[in-house]
């Protein structure tokens, strides 16, 4: 993040990178092409000069004037004139005619002639009568010399009496190549400047597209985003404008049972079920839905660039955890409610005792206390003797107090017997199952004069059996099919989670639940296996 807060440096690096690369590339191409062009131009010019030197020498050697000049001094001015014209018509630096090996007539650059005449390349012409080109001298001072023999006709025979040399200065050729190269050098320079400007523009453009971020930073942001998304417990899907998945985090994948990469695929295909409401464009806000038996809150937000929708972000929050928490919260509330009821009961009894004492009816008071204590102890004894599990004892005693407050008779069937419950059945589960069933039963008989709720527990055999019976009016027929469905209740809105939770808990423990109901009463039977 340090990097991002230093924009100056970022601009430098991205521009420098592009500028450096493009400049190097253009420079390389320009230098290579220009170099090759100049090299070829030079070679061609040298080859041309050699050819010209050769041909000029040969042509001159065939001219009668040249041959006659060797014998007739009077012809020499005419020869000079001819050579002068020739020098003017060609790029040659000098023309030399020798008689044997001696200079006879020369024309042109005298330095050049002297240089060449240090080692005149005329032997082959003199001895073998052949015409050719030679390079005389080294490096910068090199001269290209075309040589041809002067074969003078003496009637019956001919004789090599001298040679013609046509001399080209290589330095002049190089100079002319450089002169010819100026346009291409200019074009190259322009290309370089245009290239530089172009690369600057490119760098600026890229910078604009990346919001001024360095590629490294973009990569970092990308990784960061990926990690953040992955770490979300909530499911998250990002799609582009066409509804193709750009990103789907692990939580979302597990929610929709998707494995592997789904990038670029249509979201509808990935989810496999086009009916979900959040897929519709007009879906807004948080809405709770059931996705693969999980309660999910989905929300949808569109991504907008320049006022147009460029993508959509979906989030899915799992409500199951939330509900679990609220369930156990309500259990706790229920327990405290039960305690409060018990307290209330004791308070009433205390008031009775206080009244008796104020009336000085001490005997009655003592009797009352003894009776109460006796019946409490008796009952507790009974419960603790037939039901050995302390968790269950606690629940029964709690419900008992609630029952007496609501003037409902709550009994434990005398035939009940239960040893310790297995470890797998924890207090929470027990509270959920029995608490709900007993509360429901009490609620059903609350209005009756002789409402009666009976709990029967038994652990004979392989299963543990809880049976909660009431003598209430029974469950209406129309409620039966939806009895255990979430959110369905005969008690009004906001209710209807009790039985659903009971069923879920029973399922978790690997047990079963049965209901029998008629207008004379209802019985819920829960069977939990002892060994899972």
């Amino acid at each position: 993040m340090k990097k991002i807060s230093n924009p100056n440096r970022n601009v430098m690096t991205i521009q420098l990178k592009i500028l450096g690369l493009v400049t190097a590339l253009i420079l390389f191409i320009v230098v290579a092409i220009t170099g090759i062009y100049i090299l070829f131009e030079y070679r061609e010019d040298v080859a041309d000069a050699e050819k010209m030197a050769y041909q000029t020498a040969k042509t001159l050697s065939y001219m009668p004037t040249a041959r006659e000049a060797l014998q007739d001094q009077d012809v020499i001015p005419e020869l000079r004139n001819m050579m002068d014209n020739l020098l003017r018509d060609t790029d040659a630096s000098a023309v030399v005619m020798t008689e044997g090996e001696r200079l006879f007539v020369t024309m042109g650059d005298e330095d050049m002639i002297l240089k060449v005449f240090d080692h005149p390349p005329i032997e082959k012409a003199l001895i073998f009568g052949s015409s050719y080109t030679e390079r005389v001298g080294k490096a910068e001072e090199m001269a290209l010399v075309g040589v041809s023999p002067l074969l003078v006709d003496y009637g019956d025979y001919k004789k090599v009496d001298g040679t013609i040399m046509v001399i080209y200065d290589r330095a002049l050729i190089i100079r002319s190549v450089i002169r010819d190269s100026i346009p291409i050098l200019t074009v190259s320079a322009i290309a370089l400047v245009v290239g530089l400007a172009g690369s600057l523009l490119l760098a600026k453009n890229i910078k604009k597209d990346t919001l001024g971020l360095e590629p490294k930073e973009i990569a970092f942001l990308y990784k960061e985003r990926k990690t953040v998304f992955s770490s979300f417990k909530d499911g998250m899907i990002v799609t582009d404008a066409e509804g193709r998945v750009r990103m789907m985090n692990p939580a979302a994948k597990s929610l929709f049972h998707v494995t592997g990469s789904v990038r670029g695929q249509s979201l509808k295909e990935v989810i496999g079920e086009p009916g979900y409401p959040f897929l519709k464009d007009d879906f807004r806000g948080d809405e709770e839905l059931e996705i693969r038996e999980q309660a999910i809150i989905a929300s949808r937000q569109d991504l907008r660039t320049d006022g147009r929708r460029s993508g959509t972000i979906f989030t899915f929050r799992d409500k199951t955890d939330l509900r679990k928490m609220s369930a156990s919260l309500s259990e706790i509330r229920r327990v405290s409610e039960d305690l409060r009821a018990q307290t209330h009961e004791f308070k009433n009894k205390l008031y009775v005792i206080m009244g008796l004492i104020q009336l000085n009816k001490n005997e009655e008071a003592i009797l009352f206390i003894r009776d109460e204590t006796q019946s409490q102890e008796n009952y507790a004894k009974f419960v603790s003797s037939s039901v050995r599990d302390e968790k269950l004892q606690a629940i029964i005693l709690g419900k008992m107090a609630k029952a007496s407050e609501q003037h409902v008779s709550f009994m434990v069937d005398p035939g009940s017997s239960l040893e310790r419950l297995p470890e797998s059945v924890d207090l929470n589960g027990l509270v959920t199952i029995l608490g709900n069933l007993i509360d429901n039963a009490m609620e059903a008989v609350k209005q009756l004069d002789h409402g009666e709720v009976v709990l029967f527990v038994s652990d004979l055999g392989t299963d543990i059996l809880f049976e909660v019976s009431d003598n209430g009016p029974g469950i209406p027929d129309e409620c039966f099919p939806k009895l255990f469905e979430r959110g369905v209740s005969g008690k009004g809105p906001g209710r209807g989670y009790g039985l659903a939770n009971v069923q879920m808990e029973v399922k978790l423990l690997g047990g079963e639940i049965e209901v029998q109901s008629d207008p004379r009463g209802t019985t819920f039977s829960v069977f939990l296996p002892k060994i899972r």
Binding site: E123, K124, F128, P149, Y157
Partner: protein, 324 residues
């Protein structure tokens, strides 16, 4: 397994094709043969080409039709350039010019651009003087030249740079004479050179032995020496250069070559036919009648010989160029 069988089958079929191709190759030659004489009718090259044509055909060595094509110009260059673009059914007669043209700067072609097939015959070169010449052997003549090179006129023809000329340059070099000082008069041809000698216009001539043999036998001129390895049958009185203390043998050979890129089969075919031809009576007779000498070498030997000759000529031209 099926796949392997298929591949094996395909390989066999291909191998089969390969065989039939080889058979096609051994069908060579399958059209008319052409022998290029890179000169006008009547010269040594033309004569060689026509002699080869006759010897191959009359002895039934080659059943295909053989034609002789005259392609004169450029000291052989025109004919050889023509050959360069042909296939193995075209051959061309050659000589040392195929080497020296390039060395003397008159041609870009070298013998390496062709397929050497054979050296067929050679002539020997000679130095001849007038019967009343003051010089009775090579040494006397060379010493005289050394003393005053310009005073001694040498007849040569038809051009400088030919073997007649080069052999004398080499000979003079052996005696330490600067080739530039040699006073060459260039005549139109071999006949003119002899005429010039007989007319006393030159002091001596360098030319083919066959040009001066008859006149020598008739006593009209005198051959001082020949460039051969040993004396000639008809000229027992003429010593070789070697006998006169110059370590030098200078053949004026003629050979035959093919276009570039010939296959081994094609080379082998011509090796066989030309070797057989060189053995025939008809060929021997032709060689005899033209005062040539049989000098047969097969393709491989010719290749080595050309290399050797190139080195020799290169040395000759460069040494002369250095003014030695």
């Amino acid at each position: 397994m099926k796949k392997w069988l298929l591949i094996a089958g395909a390989t066999l079929v291909l191998a089969g094709c390969g065989n039939s191709n080889a058979e096609d190759g051994s069908d060579f030659p399958n059209k008319n043969i052409e022998i290029v004489a890179p000169a006008s009718p009547g010269g040594g090259w033309d004569l060689t080409a026509r002699s080869v044509q006759k010897a191959l055909q009359d002895n039934d060595l080659v059943t295909e039709n053989i034609n002789v094509q005259n392609k004169p110009g450029g000291g052989g260059e025109v004919g050889w350039k023509y050959l360069e673009k042909k296939d193995a059914h075209t051959l061309a007669v050659n000589s040392s010019l195929v080497i020296t043209n390039n060395l003397l700067g008159t041609s870009e072609l070298t013998h390496e651009q062709f397929t050497p097939l054979a050296i067929l015959s050679t002539e020997w070169l000679s130095i001849a003087v007038a019967p009343d010449s003051p010089y009775s052997n090579i040494e006397e003549l060379m010493n005289a030249i050394k003393e005053d090179p310009k005073s001694i006129k040498i007849g040569v023809g038809p051009a400088l740079g030919n073997n007649d000329h080069l052999s004398l340059v080499q000979l003079a070099g052996e005696y330490g004479i600067d080739a530039k000082d040699l006073n060459f008069l260039v005549y139109e041809g071999g006949g003119d050179v002899v005429t010039a000698l007989l007319g006393g216009h030159v002091d001596f001539v360098t030319t083919s032995m066959s040009e001066v043999k008859e006149q020598h036998l008739a006593g009209k001129l005198k051959i001082l020496g020949i460039s051969a390895e040993e004396r000639e049958e008809d000229l027992e009185d003429v010593p070789t250069y070697q006998e006169q203390g110059v370590d030098m043998v200078f053949p004026h050979w003629r050979g035959i070559m093919g276009p570039p890129g010939m296959t081994e089969e094609e080379i082998a075919y011509w090796d066989e036919q030309l070797a057989a031809m060189a053995e025939t009576e008809l060929w021997q007779e032709i060689v005899e009648n033209n005062d040539w000498e049989s000098y047969y070498m097969n393709s491989e030997e010719t290749s080595a010989f050309l290399k050797e000759q190139t080195a020799m000529y290169k040395g000759l031209v460069e040494d002369a160029g250095m003014g030695q």
